[in-house]
Amino acid sequence: MKTIELKNITKVYNNKVTALDNVSLTLCEGEFVAVMGQSGSGKSTLLQIAGLLDNCTSGSVIINGEDVSKLNTNQLADVRKNSLGFVFQAFHLNPHLKVYENIMVPMLINDRFKNKAEMQSRAMELVDKVGLTHRKEHYPSELSGGEQQRVAIARALANEPDFILADEPTGNLDSKNEQMIFEELKKLSEMGKGVLVVCHNDAILNFAEKVYNMKDGKFENE
């Protein structure tokens, strides 16, 4: 089984601020896990550590059985490329690339794709999956917030990762689009991907199987 295991994670900034205090979490394939909490509770930090975007002060991160703490920068990048997909609050789409081209960006460094035609074919597949076939030639500035986030989700799926990590994916969206995005993420977990969503909105409760509440760097559930 594919898993992300966070064991006894502590993160202290500048020797003063403890963002995470001995936190443990396991995300399995096919699971939809939500981490909720107030602003400053440490939930984004948790996601960043789980996504290898930051390192922890103590504890270990094990992805698919491999302890990543001993890996160097390039090896961590490879793990992110092959196993993880990210969805951010601010979308981070390239305004000068079309929808399908934005989805191709992670494929450019994946040797699995031999040529541009293969990448385009995969991108089109993903565009259809997120229901944006009619918008594939459009630029991000021509899309609504919800549509942009769906593109970001499609991009996250480009290299067929095992896990999707989403940091406040609906933070910039209205409630209708919010629902839509959660539904998309739910679909992904039903497809067998492990989905970890950091959110402060209660709407997630209708979709997540497990919910962790964070406060002051600790899980309240524990």
Binding site: T73, A77, R80, L84, F86, N94, L108, N159
Partner: protein, 459 residues
């Protein structure tokens, strides 16, 4: 990561880069500045250097007026430090004005000139080369490879008398190369050739006189064309012949005038046959050594000129100095500013892309891929900017070359050779590429230090 993928991503980043335009403008200006300033500075300095290296610019005239120039005297002067040679210039050292009677008209150039000869007065001079003086041609054959009574002609040939145009502006030059192969018939102006000669008068003093020799027609075959410019000896109405040809012309003229050179009866024949009464050129090994030669030979009691036999205008030398020094200072100033601005622009450009870099790192891009994309981006901008700068320089030089070609003869030194411009454009391209590459390399450590997490929060 394949090159085509790097290109794909970089092109999109180029469009979103807010500092595109400023980087393009800076590089274009730098390319234009390097190519133009260097070209004009080098052209003027080269003109002066070419002048200084020329045979006649390094030679001064030695006269027998203070003391006659015996073989021993010549030997002693030849041994003076920095003297390269001492050459007898009898029959060679004066400019003989000739009129063109006719040109054979075998080709189009000759036919056109013949038409003009019917309505315009002509004025050319014929000079013989001195000692080991060389006058290389740009087309046709050199005089050394040609028989006697051959001549070489300026590539910009203007053989007409133009009283009203003292500054020689806007002349309708004839392409000298179009006359190669023609035979030109000349005669001394008013049927005469002026011959300066020296005699010893009653009190033993040597003095100079002039004689008018009767000139008959002279036919010369045009075998080549030399590059004519104000910084080399030989202007647009000079024809050059070999030493032997010139001496034969003089001997014929003396014969026509009834002077028997073998008899030693006339003053001219006495002078012609007595080398002690001849004028000489003292040729220095270097232009800057003329003064020391002059001082030393004067000390020996001989009459030597302090002025060299070919001088360019003081204004040309001054302007070459000014253009090269002030021009180089300007170029340095532009270069320094451009480097500072490029460093800043690439730095600012990098800062504006932090979030994008963070995203790419989050997706799994390694530092080397990110660097490759950024480097491609900058080099693409550089090449594009270079093309703009190069095109501007080319237009500028073409326009100015056209303008200068219609100005006075002395301003021809500002006409830029396109091969020189191309060389400086090449240097400019190398320079800007290196600068930009260094700017990017400086950023490597910054790229490495960026954590995906930090960049993400700088959205």
């Amino acid at each position: 990561m394949k090159f085509s993928n790097i290109r794909f991503l970089s092109k999109a980043n180029i469009k979103r880069n807010k500092y595109n335009v400023s980087i393009t403008v800076i590089v274009s200006l730098l390319v234009a500045a390097v190519s133009l300033i260097s070209s004009y500075a080098v052209a003027t300095v080269n003109a002066v250097n070419e002048y200084k290296a020329s045979y006649r610019a390094r030679s001064v005239t030695l006269n027998p007026f203070l003391k006659i120039l015996t073989d021993d005297a010549i030997k002693a002067i030849s041994n003076v430090e920095h003297v390269q040679s001492v050459e007898d210039v009898t029959g060679l050292d004066d400019k003989y004005p000739y009129n063109i009677l006719n040109i054979s008209g075998q080709n189009d150039g000759g036919k056109r000139l013949n038409k003009q000869l019917k309505t315009r007065d002509t004025y050319v001079t014929v000079e013989g080369l001195i000692g080991d003086e060389k006058k290389p041609v740009i087309a046709g054959k050199n005089l050394e490879e040609s028989p006697t009574f051959s001549c070489i002609i300026p590539n910009l040939f203007y053989p007409f008398e133009d009283e009203g145009n003292i500054g020689y502006e806007n002349l309708d030059y004839i392409d000298g190369t179009s006359l190669i192969g023609e035979t030109i018939t000349l005669k001394g102006d008013e049927g005469k050739i002026l011959l300066p000669y020296n005699i010893v008068i009653d009190d033993g003093e040597c003095t100079g006189y002039d004689a008018n020799l009767r000139s008959k027609e002279i036919k010369l075959k045009i075998v080549g064309a030399f590059n004519c410019s104000s910084n080399t000896y030989g202007s647009f109405h000079h024809l050059f012949v070999s030493r032997d040809t010139q001496l034969q012309i003089m001997e014929k003229a003396m014969k026509n005038t009834g002077i028997d050179l073998s008899s030693n009866e006339s003053d001219i024949s006495k002078w012609w046959n007595n080398t002690s009464l001849h004028n000489y050129y003292v040729v220095a090994d270097d232009y800057d050594n003329i003064t020391s030669i002059y001082n030393e030979v004067s000390e020996m009691g001989y009459d030597i000129s302090s002025f060299n036999n070919f001088s360019i205008k003081e204004s040309t030398k001054i302007m070459a100095d000014v253009l090269s020094t002030v021009g180089m200072f300007l170029l340095s100033a532009i270069f320094i500013l451009a480097v500072i601005l490029l460093l800043q622009s690439t730095n600012f450009s990098f800062n504006s892309q932090k979030s994008n870099i963070g995203l790419l790192k989050a997706i799994g891009y390694k530092n080397k891929y990110i660097f490759a994309c950024m480097l491609y981006e900058q080099l693409f901008l550089v090449i594009r900017a270079f093309l703009i700068g190069a095109a501007s320089s080319l237009v500028f030089v073409t326009v100015l070359n056209y303008i200068f070609s219609h100005k006075s003869y002395g301003e021809f030194i500002y006409i830029i050779d396109y091969s020189m411009l191309a060389a400086f454009l090449g240097i400019a391209l190398a320079l800007v590429t290196v600068i930009v590459a260094i700017c990017e390399i400086v950023l490597i450590s910054k790229i490495v230090k960026i954590q995906p997490r930090e960049a993400m929060s700088a959205a």
